[in-house]
Amino acid sequence: MTGLMRSRRGALLFFGLAALIPLVVRDAYFLDSLVLILLWGALSAAWNVAGGYAGQVSIGHASFFGIGAYSAALMVTRFGKGPWLGMLVGVVLSIGAGFIIGFLSNRLKGPYFALSTIAFSQVLLIGVSRWRGFTSGGEGIPVPFRPGFATLGLGHVGWVYMALAMALVCFAVQVYLERSRIGYQLAGVREDEDAAEALGIATRRLKVAAITLSAALTSIGGSLWAQYVGFVDPTYVFSVDLSVRFALNTIIGGMGTALGPFLGSILITSLETYLRATFAGVKAGFTGIYLIIYGTALILVVRFVPEGLAGITTRLRRAHA
């Protein structure tokens, strides 16, 4: 129980700071980093719902991110409607996609599940790249900036609170999964599906539900990201790298812990921001160097600290207790 209180104290500190910073700091560069930390943290938390809590480790979550990003962008540019409606459409489409992926991949485990999720994101990548008439294909879509809440044209401070709201929603969903009946049953599914079935848990339905919920949250994050960054293109929003990013933040922070994805995001996003500033002058160098470090971090963390940062702190506390 004290462990639970302590982890909540960490969350209070993190989210509290995020809420207070914009009142004090006005530096655009710093606030931009904060928005990205919160947004990537929220998206990783959304991944964690399926990957960490339900054990459905996907490397195709960019599918839902891309659906959300494109729905919001296309709603604005093709239909002249607001991004909120696009976000809603994205959620509906992602629920559909999540349901299909979850249903079709239901019996698959481990690497097979990962392969099938990659395949789905590739189908979307190819589809969106080829359907030029509607999606502008590989060129991507610039999303116009129109000031106002209805058009999600916010300033940096506004975006911090928007990203914070998203982060809090994802955090709350995770906390619910730690405490509720369905959360415990999902943990059973994650640990051993056969045993969970024998105990009366409808494992398949539960897995599909977890993937669908995770997909819906990821899609909302994608819609917000599209409005924040102002540009979507298929090779980024449907990329395997992006899917890995959600997983990486969560793994570094601690899979199946509510604060883990945010801890991972603080670390990885800050690293990215720092490297971007440092290697800004190097041609093609920045993304490359950043990704080399991130890939290496992934290899080292899964091998040496598989329980992540959240796990280390628990371990240290146990050692002191």
Partner: protein, 247 residues
């Protein structure tokens, strides 16, 4: 219903894997409240039979009726909710969860809230002699306790019939005695129990009636004393390390 009303009826149950018939035309009836043993040499189809009864395999032929309801082809979780659950020979604990959480997940099948399930789990953990390990990670338990956890978790689903798959294998004599006592107690409390065991000696001490499987067929059924006299049973066990003399 009389005490002898059947809780489980198998008729002509057959399960094939490709060309191999793992369970062949098996029929038997289990009256409510019985403690039935199923024995047979390695590869006789005992575990496959459990997998068919509990819904993990769909049989190619035959019918399984549990408490008057045809459960053939239902999913394991549906069968569990009707009151029939099982343990696994190779135990499948939720390794990263505590013992109490393992059992609580079983209890949640009948109980709507986490708090009520936790109370129930505490009761079951106590009854199964796991109270002093309630907070340990399941994967940290020694095999004897893991077998107990397997039983405790199944009991938390409040079954009317429980299938125990070799819960005594690999236990030391003390643990074995404890497990036999636990099974007897559950049986005395009115639970119907079907036990699979490879080792006949343990079974002889426990079961009132035994079904013998050999090459997927039920070749004999009866009281332990009758079984040991059966020619086919003796033949089936010839060359096995555990000879009937041990019984």
């Amino acid at each position: 219903m009389s005490a002898a009303a059947p809780i489980l009826e198998l008729s002509g149950v057959t399960k094939r894997f490709g060309g191999l018939t793992a369970v062949s035309d098996v029929s038997f009836t289990v009256p409510a409240g019985e403690l039935l043993g199923i024995i047979g040499p390695n590869g006789a189809g005992k575990t496959t039979l459990f997998n068919v009864i509990s819904g993990y395999y769909r049989p190619e032929a035959g019918r399984i009726v549990f408490a008057g309801r045809d459960v053939t082809g239902l999913a394991p979780h549906e069968i569990c909710r009707l009151g029939l659950t099982r343990t696994f020979q190779l135990v499948k604990p939720f390794g990263n969860l505590s013992v109490i959480d393992n059992v609580m997940i079983g209890a949640l099948t009948r109980l709507p809230t986490v708090s009520s399930a936790r109370l129930e789990a505490e009761r079951v953990v106590e009854a199964c002699g796991l109270a002093s390990h309630a907070g340990s990670h399941a994967r940290a338990l020694p095999i004897g306790l893991r077998k107990r956890l397997e039983v405790a978790r199944a009991l938390a689903t409040r079954p009317r019939l429980i299938l125990l798959d070799e819960v005594m294998a690999g236990l030391n004599p003390t643990e074995l005695g404890g497990m036999i006592e636990l099974i007897r107690r559950l049986h005395a409390d009115g639970l119907t129990v079907i036990v699979i065991e490879h080792i006949m000696a343990a079974m002889m001490r426990l079961a009132r009636r035994i079904v013998v499987l050999h090459h997927g067929e039920a070749i004999a059924a009866g009281a332990p004393a009758e079984i040991t006299q059966d020619r086919r049973v003796v033949d089936a066990y010839l060359g096995e390390e555990f000879v009937l003399a041990q019984a």
